[in-house]
Symmetry: C2
């Protein structure tokens, strides 16, 4: 996974698609494949930045979400909805964060079905420090042309709304 390839493998795939008579879907195929690869690159950078803190991206996202919660605590199903992941992934992340002393579980005062999660002091500190690291090492120089960032936000925002992520 090291040295650059002589040519863009996605452009190559696009040419293959066109040669096979699938020219009508070749461009969307290339765009979707490019998103897959871009996500992979970005995730690797993020994980590498978070590693010194003992965090993965999944656990960081939960920590960051909690650090912005008005009441300081959040029901697990709410976290699942906001982060758009399966409830089992939240359970898994909370298990590990709790074992690391970064969050606490507590029963919901009125609804016996739901569990609340809350940052510990250590968790709040780590959220701050790891966010600072991500801002400095990843978000401040993402590798996009500055003018393209807004394009991306608009295009992907429309896509996500279209896919049913949110109303608006």
């Amino acid at each position: 996974m090291g040295t650059p390839l002589p040519r863009d493998p996605i452009a190559e795939a696009r040419r293959n698609w066109e040669e096979q008579g699938w020219a009508d879907v070749a461009a969307p195929m290339a765009a979707i494949t490019a998103i897959m690869r871009t996500q992979q690159i970005l995730l690797a950078r993020i994980e590498s930045t978070l590693k010194p803190f003992g965090l993965t991206f999944a656990r960081y996202e939960l920590l960051a979400l909690l650090s912005f919660a008005r009441k300081g605590s959040l029901p697990m199903n709410k976290a699942s909805a906001l982060l758009q992941v399966h409830p089992t992934s939240i359970t898994n992340a909370v298990d590990r964060l709790e074992r690391a002393g970064l969050v606490d579980r507590s029963p919901h005062p009125t609804d016996g079905r739901t569990t609340l999660i809350e940052l510990t002091t250590a968790g709040r500190t780590l959220a701050k420090r790891s966010t600072a690291a991500l801002n400095a090492e990843v978000f401040s120089a993402p590798g996009f042309d500055p003018g393209d960032v807004d394009h991306l936000i608009r295009i992907l925002g429309a896509f996500r709304r279209n896919a049913g992520d949110f109303d608006g």
Copy 2:
């Protein structure tokens, strides 16, 4: 993970970033998070389309790559480089594809270190059929504005070149 949220959680995160005094990196943060989520949505669609064929995206990618190989066979390290994944992921995928009778391993004629992988007849057939399904169910209506597809390809292409994926 069902009903749409009342508001865009990524726009929400961007506002939080700005309020914390990180306005300079709020936009790239939002763009990167949007790419993560978009990839997740697209991957779910692709996996769902491939499920009836007994394929995952990882295995499909390998099948498709082999179906375009000029010689019909490919060394494993070449597959690893072209698909941009860890060599162990290729080993894993080939293990399962071989067990399913879709590919064969064979020793390289001159280099005793390398293993060649090759589609079986069943593998070639399945590659064709599953590609047709993806074209019909995912790539033909990706959910992007038609004009945005070319923007995406250009922006993400520049990003990937910048990240060292390929020269050009």
